[in-house]
């Protein structure tokens, strides 16, 4: 861009337009700005009230420097034809600098005073500091530019400053409106460009009481302030490991000791108490939610327990909505790839991801074998229905199928199955429907299925077991 020789000339010109005192002041101010976050470390503790009182003017005042800074390039461009506007630009730059400094100060007061922490908060602060330094630089190099001595430097610095402004503004918006605010209603095609990187590491607990019952409550009522974006009081409640770690007041969950659990204490205080949670203006927990959390703590607050006394298990019954499975949204790309390479599809049961996926092989039935089925193991916890009718799967497929922990319906009609390995299905506690029509399954092979309480529909049409089991089956299928 700028040749070395030219660069020295440019630097000399810049130096000519500024006094040493000026340069020293800019450098010093930048150094102080960079030191601020190190000196005023955000420790997650609220400090003096007056800090917060002043700090809360930050979201109000912030719009002033934004507007002025956006005005600046317009004035500079218009200034090429009307010199008066260029003079005005100098003034606008100066007051922008002043307001930006005030806003930054208030922002730091707000963060420090309220004791808020979190990666977005930290980033927002740093980008704000960067923005102010950018403005200082603009202020420093502009005289050289107006004198026509360093034509590229000021526009470049100004452009950089504007980028910093956009970045800072976006982070600030994410803090007040939530990080999903901007993209939530984005049209589908655009959304695809934004990688949905899920950092959830609780996938291992899919199906547990924690994931099914406790996590949704915390997610709805607590995570807005105690989550990845905002970590009030150093506490995060969005992941099991973090919620057990607790916050700056120590652990909030004491397994088997509900009364000693800080979280329960806080949510059961009088709503007028200043320590009552969720904080002022947010929806309190219902008494059912509180009793569910209490029961879970009493039972040991385990992340993986699938049954807890006092919490009604989501009964696996056709009349009740099926138990939710985990959210597979983050796996959508792999699901699409799988479809393209194998022809078999993973289809959403409904628009609600927790309703799970259907493994559908109709289009590739003849070539779909055990090896291909095994490749779907990575989606095992999300598959609620497997349509393997007319495929080339064999008894060996039971090993894979037994890993589909949420499987409710299994189609194996017209396959080469002999039923030898049907016993491997016994861990599938949610299985209600099993279609073995047109296979070689005998009645003796069905014996291991007797212990599966929810398996209410077994279809054996056109099998060796047919005549033997017809009676039993019809008795199961009596209408209400």
């Amino acid at each position: 861009m700028i040749a070395p020789q030219k660069l020295t000339v440019t630097l000399r010109n810049l130096r000519a337009q500024t006094t040493p005192t000026h340069r020293f002041a800019v450098l010093g101010a930048s150094a102080v700005l960079i030191l601020i976050p190190l000196l005023l470390r955000l420790d997650g503790r609220p400090h003096a009230d007056w800090l917060q009182f002043l700090g809360r003017f930050h979201p109000l005042l912030v719009h002033l420097p934004i507007g002025m800074l956006m005005l600046l390039p317009l004035l500079e461009i218009a200034g090429t034809t009307k010199p008066a506007l260029r003079e005005a630009a100098g003034f606008v730059l100066r007051i922008t600098l002043v307001f930006c400094a005030i806003t930054l100060t208030l922002g730091i007061l707000l963060a420090y005073g309220s004791g808020v922490t979190g990666s977005t908060v930290t980033l927002h602060m740093w980008s704000g500091i960067l923005l102010l330094i950018g403005l200082l630089l603009c202020f420093t190099v502009r005289p050289a530019w107006t004198a026509g001595q360093a034509p590229q430097v000021y526009p470049l610095v100004l452009a950089g400053t504007l980028l910093a402004l956009i970045w800072t503004g976006h982070l600030g918006g994410s803090l007040t409106h939530g990080s999903e605010y901007l993209v939530r209603y984005m049209p589908g095609p655009l959304k695809r460009f934004i990688a949905s990187g899920s950092q959830g590491s609780d996938a291992a607990y899919v199906g547990s009481v924690y994931m099914r019952t406790i996590h949704p409550i915390l997610d709805a009522k607590c995570v807005a302030c105690h989550g990845a974006n905002k970590e009030q009081a150093d506490l995060r409640l969005d992941l099991y490991a973090l919620l057990m770690k607790g916050g700056k007041h120590g652990p909030v969950f004491a397994p088997r000791n509900p009364d000693g659990s800080l979280l329960l204490q806080r949510v059961t205080l009088s709503p007028s108490d200043s320590h009552f949670m969720p904080a002022e203006g947010r929806t309190p927990l219902t008494s059912e939610e509180i009793s569910v959390i209490r029961a879970w703590i009493l039972a040991g607050a385990s992340p993986s327990a699938t049954g807890v006394p006092g919490i009604a298990p989501a009964a696996i019954n056709a009349d009740l909505p099926p138990e939710p499975v985990g959210d597979y949204s983050s796996l959508m790309n792999q699901i699409r790839q799988m479809q393209q390479s194998l022809g078999a599809k993973l289809v959403a049961v409904s628009a609600t991801p927790s309703d799970g996926l259907i493994l559908r092989t109709t289009d590739a039935a003849a070539s779909f074998d055990d090896a291909q089925l095994a490749r779907f193991e990575q989606f095992a916890p999300f598959i609620v229905e497997a349509e393997l009718g007319r495929t080339a799967v064999t008894d060996a497929s039971m090993d894979t199928i037994s890993k589909f922990t949420h499987l409710r319906a299994l189609h194996l009609e017209s396959t080469a199955l002999t039923g030898r390995a049907l016993g491997k299905l016994s861990p599938l506690s949610e299985l209600t429907y099993l279609n073995l029509s047109g296979t070689k399954v005998t009645s003796s092979a069905l014996a291991p299925l007797k212990d599966m309480p929810n398996l209410r529909h077994i279809y054996l049409f056109d099998t060796p077991a047919d005549s033997a089991a017809t009676a039993a089956h019809t008795s199961l299928k009596t209408p209400q």
Binding site: S350, T362, Y459
Partner: protein, 516 residues
């Protein structure tokens, strides 16, 4: 003032301004006449037109999304947010009894009518209802009780006419609705209303909505297939037209694909001599290129639909022969469906095909059986109609059940309306006729999502008016959509400035009492 050359009057011609009208209006007229005002107004109008064009384009963009082929329809149409909730039924089979079966001769048992034979129907029952031209001129409305005895069947003890011995065997699997009702009294509007939710043509039918909303389960067969039953010339066959399985304002790839009722369900299915699959493939690829050029030039989404249809036809060349090859069916199939099922085009044959389609992932199959329009000679024709359809319907439900498909397949049996209790034309000891009747008729459903073994709703002693729990055809359609995981009120498509839906803009309700 310069005199107009054609004006014979002297000096000043009379203008509108000289009429005795309010001064303010005159002033406005005068203002309109100025060139400045004309130009100013034109400018504004152009501005508004441009703005409307911009916004209109945004609207079009939204509605065109539905026809975007780049979205693979097989992903459960996640782009539409469908299904709205976990569905009980994955597919549906609709046995459509075109013409209007007489409910009081089949399901709606009215024993008290026997004693009222040939009595005039009380005016209070008919009220101010407008009748069809066929019976409006009748001086008398003589009550014609059903010619056939009824019996109680199944564990539920449901009353069914002796005309339907096979249906009687499966009543415990059925959800019988006695209080269906519709707005139209003539075939075309009534059949359009129940199929498309609107009496006027141009709206998509239930199957097209499902194909659009739920997408395909099998890439090699159409999502929505229509089967016609061969007509019996002795019956009064009302025409059915492709309007009934049209996609309306939806892309035409969602329209029903009709299979012929003859031995050759799709004509020219096999490649002609000398054309092998590769040549056919090359030809289609070239045609597709040309079509893509057209699409790029014209931008009509229907071009996309046409490309998809060519591809579907190519795949159907191999999938349809497999579908219609009944050689592998075991003897138990023929025992169940009866020997008629071996003849292509019979109702039983179509029911068997429908079962095979259900197995192969066809989302929606509609079988049309015409001839139910029994204006006269009910005693002569109704037994034939029942004999033609009874066993097939029973075999289909039973076959689906024993193969484990009834759990997630919804079977529907319905016509467009019912028939009158009074006789059309002369009533004799052993024969009568029945006119169209929209106020109540009977339909049944079975399988995924509906409660088996119930009879829903009550009609009055004349099977004329509804006493309890009416089910309008719109509610019926809303309930069918519900079984398939769709909230009918949210399933809309923007067209002509309206969020169109199957259940039309009039309120419709899912009938909770029918649901499992």
């Amino acid at each position: 003032m310069k005199q107009h050359p054609l004006c014979t009057d002297c000096e000043s011609p009379v203008t509108a301004l000289e009429f005795p009208i309010p001064v303010s209006v005159k002033r406005e007229w005068a203002a309109i006449e100025t060139r400045r005002r004309f130009l100013g107004r034109s400018g504004k109008v152009l501005g508004w037109a441009a703005l409307a064009g911009l916004f209109g384009e945004m609207g079009l963009w939204r509605s065109a999304q539905g026809t975007d082929l780049r979205t693979p329809p097989a992903e459960g149409r996640n782009d539409l947010g469908l299904p709205h909730f976990a569905p009980k039924a994955q597919r549906a089979i609709y046995l459509f009894m075109s013409g209007g079966p007489p409910q009081m001769d089949l399901f709606d048992y009215k024993p008290s009518l026997a004693s009222r034979f040939n009595n005039d129907m009380p005016d209070s029952v008919r009220g101010n209802q407008q009748l069809t031209g066929m019976t409006a001129g009748q001086a008398h409305f003589p009550i014609a009780p059903s010619h056939w005895p009824f019996g109680q069947h199944g564990q539920t003890g449901t009353w069914v006419s002796d005309l339907l011995p096979y249906t009687a065997r499966m009543v415990d699997d059925l959800t019988i609705i006695k209080t269906m009702n519709t707005d139209a009294i003539n075939h075309e509007p009534a059949i359009m209303l129940i199929n498309t939710g609107n009496m006027n043509a141009g709206k998509p039918c239930l199957g097209a909505w499902l194909a659009y909303g739920l997408g395909s389960m099998n890439d090699n067969l159409p999502t929505f297939i229509v089967l016609q039953t061969k007509t019996n010339p002795k019956e009064n066959n009302q025409p059915v037209s492709s309007r009934l399985w049209s996609s309306g304002f939806l892309s035409s790839e969602y329209a029903g694909v009709g299979l012929r009722s003859g031995a050759d369900p799709v004509l020219y299915l096999a490649d002609p001599a000398g054309v092998d699959r590769d040549v056919r493939r090359q030809m289609l690829d070239t045609v597709e290129q040309i079509n893509r050029q057209t699409l790029a030039e014209v931008g009509d989404p229907e071009t996309n639909a046409r490309i998809a249809q060519y591809e579907m036809a190519f795949r159907m060349q191999s999938s349809v022969p497999e579908l219609t090859d009944l050689g592998q069916e075991p003897q138990s199939t023929w025992d169940l469906y009866g020997p008629e099922a071996k003849q292509p085009g019979t109702f039983a044959y179509n029911c068997l095909l429908a079962r095979r389609m259900a197995e192969r992932g066809v989302r929606f199959t509609q079988i049309y059986k015409r001839g139910w329009d029994v204006h006269g000679d009910v005693v002569g024709t109704l037994p034939v109609l029942c004999q033609e359809t009874d066993r097939g319907a029973y075999a289909l439900v039973t076959d689906l059940r024993r193969r484990g498909l009834l759990d997630d397949t919804l079977v529907i049996w319905a016509g467009e309306f019912g028939r009158t209790v009074y006789s059309q034309g002369g009533l004799t000891e052993d024969n009568y006729g029945r006119d169209h009747h929209p106020r109540c008729f009977t339909a049944w459903m079975a399988g995924g999502g509906v409660r088996p073994g119930i009879t829903y709703g009550e009609t009055d002693d004349y099977s004329y008016n509804i006493v309890k729990d009416p089910v309008h055809v719109r509610d019926f359609n809303a309930t069918i959509l519900h079984c398939l995981g769709i909230d009918h009120s949210k399933f809309t498509y923007r067209f002509q400035g309206l969020d169109q839906k199957l259940t039309s803009p009039v309120a419709a309700y899912v009938v909770q009492g029918l649901l499992a």
